[in-house]
Symmetry: C2
């Protein structure tokens, strides 16, 4: 599946579950051990909590900066940031998207945050910075087992990356092995899929899956 | 609770669960966001998957090097490393220790690996190195809610840190707020508690809890 960062600045929380057993899923803490890095590069095989390959990063034109360190945002995160009332978040997006498929994720695993830029400074400090990905750049992931892949375009608009990560589309389905997903940036939009990858206004569809 | 690295080289996988709701537990991916670092320092409050403080690191004489990046070892890890037959591992230690308390952890959260030395090199590469902790050095954690704390002295003896992390004690109970736990190094020992903190041979008790 190819994930295209149409406008360049969208962060995409990504999960993958073994379709035959949702209790086996892509795990960042196991993947870091497997690949010996905190940021996967082309050729790296992300593994499950049973140490089996589930997704391989086979192409990356985005500058190669992604994150495996930060949890998916959730309602508690936005409450702490001062949000009034409910705020869309990636954790609920995962649950809702899975529910739409008739599935219940066993937990919210730490996600692969595509295009997210969290450098480790001085070997310890972490800092949220704007993505380095450019408009139209993309990442291609190859499934290594039959799996359910979930994406949530992060609706974070209250952190230090404010204004850079303000879209909130999501799209979930069984593995797209050959499909592309285009992710508009800065689009506040509803979650229904759309055949159009162009920028959206609030309430319009925001993701696009090629045949 | 104070965890004393009696001989200095033992890694200790550490978990904490809300005693009133095991589905809430200390989360490394949420804690990194909260503290802005990958290695907690004195004064840092580790948080749960609901972003609430659960443990605060209040003392650390070990050199301040711990790990939040690597998964607990498990049987698949040792299989990949070539282990013949079953190998003790921290994941099973957690489950067994919780079971002894009549509890079932909802999952195996990424652990706080006390004394484990996994530097991030060049902002990306991770490498297992021997602990920097010295004999008798310790870490003191303060519980911020009623919680179940689990420790597993890591039985890893097949990785690059071979010979440095070869004990396999474990000790689990409801929060020790005032207790000390002494962890012998290089002791291959059974898992029963012992009143003696001195080095152990295989089959002897390996951990010690002060009154």
């Amino acid at each position: 599946v190819r994930v295209v960062n149409t406008k360049g600045q969208q962060v995409v929380d990504t999960w993958a579950f073994n379709a035959a057993d949702l209790n086996e899923f892509m795990s960042m803490e196991h993947s870091r051990v497997a690949i010996g890095r905190i940021i996967p590069g082309v050729g790296d095989r992300l593994v499950t909590n049973k140490r089996r390959p589930i997704l391989t990063l086979i192409e990356d034109t985005s500058g190669g900066i992604h994150d495996t360190l930060f949890a998916a945002c959730d309602r508690w995160r936005y409450e702490l940031l001062g949000a009034q009332g409910y705020h869309d978040n990636c954790t609920d997006n995962l649950a809702a998207g899975m529910k739409a498929l008739g599935l219940v994720p066993p937990e919210t695993p730490a996600p692969l945050n595509l295009f997210m830029n969290i450098p480790v400074l001085d070997g310890n400090r972490v800092e949220a910075r704007p993505p380095v990905s450019t408009p139209g750049s993309y990442v291609t992931l190859r499934a290594e087992m039959d799996c359910v892949i979930a994406f949530s375009a992060c609706p974070q608009d209250m952190s230090r990356s404010t204004g850079r990560r303000c879209a909130r589309p999501r799209r979930m389905s069984r593995c797209w092995i050959n499909g592309d997903i285009h992710l508009p940036d800065r689009a506040l939009a509803a979650n229904s899929p759309s055949p159009q990858p162009s920028p959206r206004k609030r309430g319009e569809g925001v993701v696009w899956e090629l045949p």
